[in-house]
């Protein structure tokens, strides 16, 4: 087809293969012109995704069980010392409340769902009776640790929380 420059300001007769390689640069593409519908299936591979670009907010909350990614992702983790402090490296908590011997309340920095799950284990080397989860709200989870005699006892705990 011959190339025609029309009086209306349009050019016809140009096919994709008719353009020299690399003649269309990113600057020539209108902002917002490339939509997801124009991408071929599988066009963006994992190498095309920037490191750190997929955030928690982009994970699926699909009602279809097998598609719900957030359900399988921890929203909070911490190691709490028996003195009522949190070790570095955790996330998802704003603070810890030392409520008494062996009584630690871990306060979320988000609003958990009403069916959230929180579990903890202790770091004690001596005889521990266990850790009881005494409370779980949308704002915090509380654990009471006891010794083998059933009495309250301080201990370090690790806690992990799942919530949609």
């Amino acid at each position: 087809m011959p190339i025609s420059i029309n009086g209306t300001g349009t050019i016809t007769g140009i096919s994709a293969g008719g353009l020299p390689d690399a003649c269309i640069t990113a600057d020539d593409i209108a902002s917002g012109a490339v939509t997801s519908a124009k991408l071929a299936s599988g066009a963006v591979g994992s190498s095309g995704i920037s490191d750190g670009s997929i955030t928690y907010g982009k994970l699926s909350t699909s009602g279809t069980e097998s598609d719900n990614v957030k359900k399988r992702t921890a929203v909070a983790f911490c190691v709490a010392n028996n003195g009522g402090t949190l070790q570095s490296g955790g996330f998802g908590f704003s603070s810890v409340t030392d409520g008494g011997t062996g009584l630690l309340q871990l306060n979320f920095n988000f609003t958990a769902s009403t069916n959230a799950v929180a579990v903890a284990t202790n770091h004690a080397s001596g005889a521990m009776g266990g850790i009881e989860r005494t409370g779980l709200t949308t704002g915090a989870v509380t654990f009471q640790s006891r010794n083998s005699g059933g009495n309250a006892q301080d201990t370090n705990i690790s806690c992990i929380v799942f919530s949609e």
Partner: protein, 144 residues
Amino acid sequence: MKKIIYQTDLGVAVVTPAPWCEISIEQVAQKDVPAGVPYSIVDALLVPEDRTFRAAWEKSPSGIIINPDKAKAIWKDKWRAARNPILASLDIEFMKAVEAGDSAKQAEIAAHKQALRDVTQTEISGNSPDEIKAVWPQVLGEKQ
């Protein structure tokens, strides 16, 4: 470093912000202290490191104080815990003395057991945590 303290039914609660927390301690207090409960923001140095008398902590205008009466009760509970295995051991020794018909030994053990039962009547005169912890009746053996 600052901490938040407030009174609870169990004593005093101490709130420590997470190392990664990006909001101010005032905002943590607003969020993590129960609504309507008065609280204070204090220097972390005003919170005792020794947790022996944790259940005796009370909130004061200057930070946290240790209630001496509660601390003494806690310390005497440690005495009770320390004497229990000794009493159990003496029960066995007493039965052996009964089987052997050794009345002198029985009397000696009975006196030892009575001294253990009376141990909680021992006076603790001091009121500071160190003074309270310094009192450990000899009948209880090595300090625990």
